[in-house]
């Protein structure tokens, strides 16, 4: 099953290796990983996506909680949290597809963040599915390269 694990850690060198080391030790793959400072500069938030049997993920989370540098660990379920990813794509359109690229960007509410004589750089935020759809549509229009952040996620407010 897919799990989104959000971990609040000390903003110190070596903490990322400590966290990711637990996955390597068990032969697990990390599908996506995103680390950045939080509102408090002494802490970082680490959001990682992985798949595995529930009881193993449960074990891994308990081990995270035992670590000295880990403050809080949450296993966010997909329905009770919001997820976003950011993508930047470079497109080199043919003469005929230049306007089509902009139209697609418009439909997806993507911004053009760089323009050159030959190419566009487009930025898009959204869920994983939306980004994948965007990439598929751009592919025949002259898509050159894509770079994506990992997934970031926050829990929804609890319904009463």
């Amino acid at each position: 099953m897919r799990h989104i694990i959000s971990i609040l850690v000390d903003n110190e060198p070596g903490v990322l290796a400590r966290v990711s080391g637990l996955f390597t030790a068990r032969g697990f793959n990390i599908e996506s990983l995103c680390v950045a400072e939080t509102e408090n500069p002494s802490y970082s938030r680490l959001t990682l996506v992985t798949s595995g049997e529930d009881w193993i993920i449960d074990q891994i989370i308990k081990r995270f909680e035992n670590m000295i540098n880990v403050i809080k660990v949450v296993d966010l379920s997909e329905s009770e949290s919001i997820q976003r990813e950011l993508l930047i794509a470079r497109v080199i359109p043919t003469k005929t597809s230049r306007s089509e690229v902009l139209r697609v960007a418009d439909i997806f509410r993507s911004n053009v963040i760089d323009v050159g004589p030959k190419s566009y750089a487009l930025e898009l935020t959204g869920t994983k599915d939306k980004l994948e759809a965007f990439v598929e549509i751009l592919r025949p229009l002259g898509l050159k390269e894509v770079t994506r952040t990992g997934l970031v996620s926050i829990a929804r407010e609890k319904k009463k």
């Binding site: 080391g21 009881w55 035992n66 000295i68």
Partner: protein, 516 residues
């Protein structure tokens, strides 16, 4: 305030934290520490070992025999990598230990400098925590935090890496008044409900069975456990690492696939297995635990099982839990009958005697127990051929059993015995190893001689049962004599008992080779 060298701060910190004995070996990046050592010689006793692995085992044995943390000092690179086996042994068995390694100066970190290794990276998975000190003024804080982490909660080894420039530059020595680790929770908050759930579950069960692991080995527990067991007539088992926690006359032996006869009988009969400070799911086969009604009590959440709804998991320290059991379980009668338990004990004795008559090594363990009696620290390592024969020695205190458990480290016993002797110099210490295991750390005989220790080393010299190995041991008697120790060679025959009796209580380093 007067400024001190990093190396002096190192000793001041250790002394202020109550450390009096360290085990170690000098080397390039820790030379400053050894330079200033003479002026601290009266405060801190440094034991010079001949190999870093042995140093870690000594610190480990020191800790197991006394409950105090063991301290190791060594240099970087090969020295630090040598300690990994010992650290791993301590980590597996939750032994508090502090490993202080030298490191290349901070500007050269990660440059493949001479004798450089990434200690933090290498030991990340075998330590409870590890840390690199970057500034001299941070040294007292790092050491006090490391010691606190090692010695609280589920105990374990902690490594502190000290680059050379940290040790040779100066700073004021300020020891923080209190360790402040906001994210570290040494004593878990236990919901009251889980304890009352446990009480109900216990009162409903007809034949409860207690299993104690190394997590229960505290002096507070030893008395409370025997009071509780007597009060309610509940049988109990121990793991390899807690042998002696329950007096041998009250205990039903060791749990596990190589455990006692009575342990498997009790496991069959019980309807409520209560495991305290013991990773029971690692010890027993899945088949044995299937559909068993269990309560797992541990200070470490990772040992608990939250997936099975039949099981109750309580995250609490064993001291608090046993205290709760003793005070809060009111009148309660189990369905264990006196005759059944007594019969089981008799049957167990019969099975043990049968094993002893058959297995020469089991015989030696039992004879040692008969000859030496209580108050002797027995150190031994894992044996390839016969597993867990240590259970034939009748331990009456967990501090007297110094055995490598989870890691099954060969060559553990002898250096651990040296460490144990330093922690309890008045007690007799005996190490018993097979010939192949003894060879892993036999160079440490010179340490025992240098320090004038009274130590008895029994080496069981036997041909390997695996014919392909073509193993042939050296003449251990000649070997020990070349070091300057007194040595005796006996073959295993009818006179073995009287020969052991004659030699076991001699003073000095004595090596007894028993040829099987």
């Amino acid at each position: 305030m007067k400024k001190l060298l990093g190396a002096e701060i190192f000793f001041e910190s250790l002394y202020d934290l109550g450390i009096r004995t360290i085990f170690g070996l000098p080397g390039g990046y820790v030379l400053k520490i050894y330079d200033v050592m003479p002026s601290y010689a009266k405060k801190i006793n440094h034991i010079l070992t001949r190999h870093e692995q042995a140093a870690t085992h000594m610190a480990d044995g020191f800790s197991r025999a006394s409950g105090l943390p063991g301290i190791i000092l060594c240099t970087s690179g090969p020295a630090a990598t040598n300690t990994v086996t010992g650290i791993s042994t301590a980590y597996m068995d939750s032994v508090p230990m502090l490993i202080l390694t030298g490191q290349v100066p901070t500007p050269f970190l990660g440059s493949d400098a001479f004798q450089e290794a990434d200690h933090i990276g290498i030991t990340r998975s075998t330590t409870k925590h590890n840390t690199l000190v970057r500034k001299t003024k941070d040294l007292p804080k790092a050491i006090s935090e490391a010691l606190h982490i090692a010695n609280t909660g589920r105990k374990g080894p902690v490594l502190v890496d000290m680059p050379k420039d940290v040790l040779i530059s100066e700073s004021e020595y300020v020891m923080p008044k209190k360790v402040s680790l906001p994210n570290y929770n040494e004593n878990p908050k236990t919901p009251k409900k889980s304890l009352s759930d446990f009480k109900n579950k216990l009162l409903q069960s007809k034949k409860p069975l207690l299993v104690f692991g190394r997590g229960s080995c505290y002096k507070e527990n030893k008395k409370n456990i025997s009071l509780f067991l007597k009060k309610y007539n509940i049988p109990s088992l121990t793991s390899l690492l807690s042998l002696g926690l329950v007096d041998s006359k009250d205990s039903f032996g060791m749990v596990g696939p190589h455990g006692s006869y009575s342990s498997s009988k009790l496991l069959e009969e019980t309807d409520h297995l209560i495991s305290v400070g013991c990773d029971i799911r690692k010890i027993l086969r899945k088949k044995d635990l299937l559909k068993k009604n269990m309560t797992i009590v541990d200070i470490d959440k990772t040992v608990l099982d939250s997936t099975d709804k039949n099981n109750l998991s309580i995250n609490i320290s064993s001291i608090n839990f046993i205290d709760f059991m003793l005070k809060n379980i009111g009148p309660y009668n189990t369905e264990w009958t006196h005759s059944f338990l007594k019969g089981l004990k008799n049957e167990n004795v019969k099975k043990e005697n049968k094993e002893i008559s058959k297995n020469k090594k089991a015989f030696i363990f039992r004879k040692l127990s008969d000859i030496l009696g209580d108050d002797v620290i027995l150190c031994s390592d894992f044996s390839y051929d016969d597993v867990n024969l240590q259970q034939f020695y009748k331990f009456n205190d967990y501090k007297n059993s110094v055995l490598s458990g989870g890691n099954g480290t060969p060559g553990y016993g002898f250096p651990a015995a040296i460490g144990a002797k330093f922690s309890r110099p008045k007690n007799k210490v005996v190490s018993i190893s097979s010939g192949n295991n003894f060879q892993f750390n036999m160079q440490e005989m010179i340490v025992a001689l240098e320090q004038k220790l009274d130590l008895t080393v029994i080496v069981i010299n036997e041909k390997s049962s695996n014919k392909n190995l073509k193993y042939k041991g050296p003449d251990f008697k000649l070997l020990a004599e070349s070091f300057g120790a007194k040595a005796y060679q006996f073959s295993f025959d009818s006179k073995i008992e009287s020969n052991l009796k004659k030699t076991l209580n001699l003073k000095g380093l004595i090596l007894i080779e028993v040829i099987m």
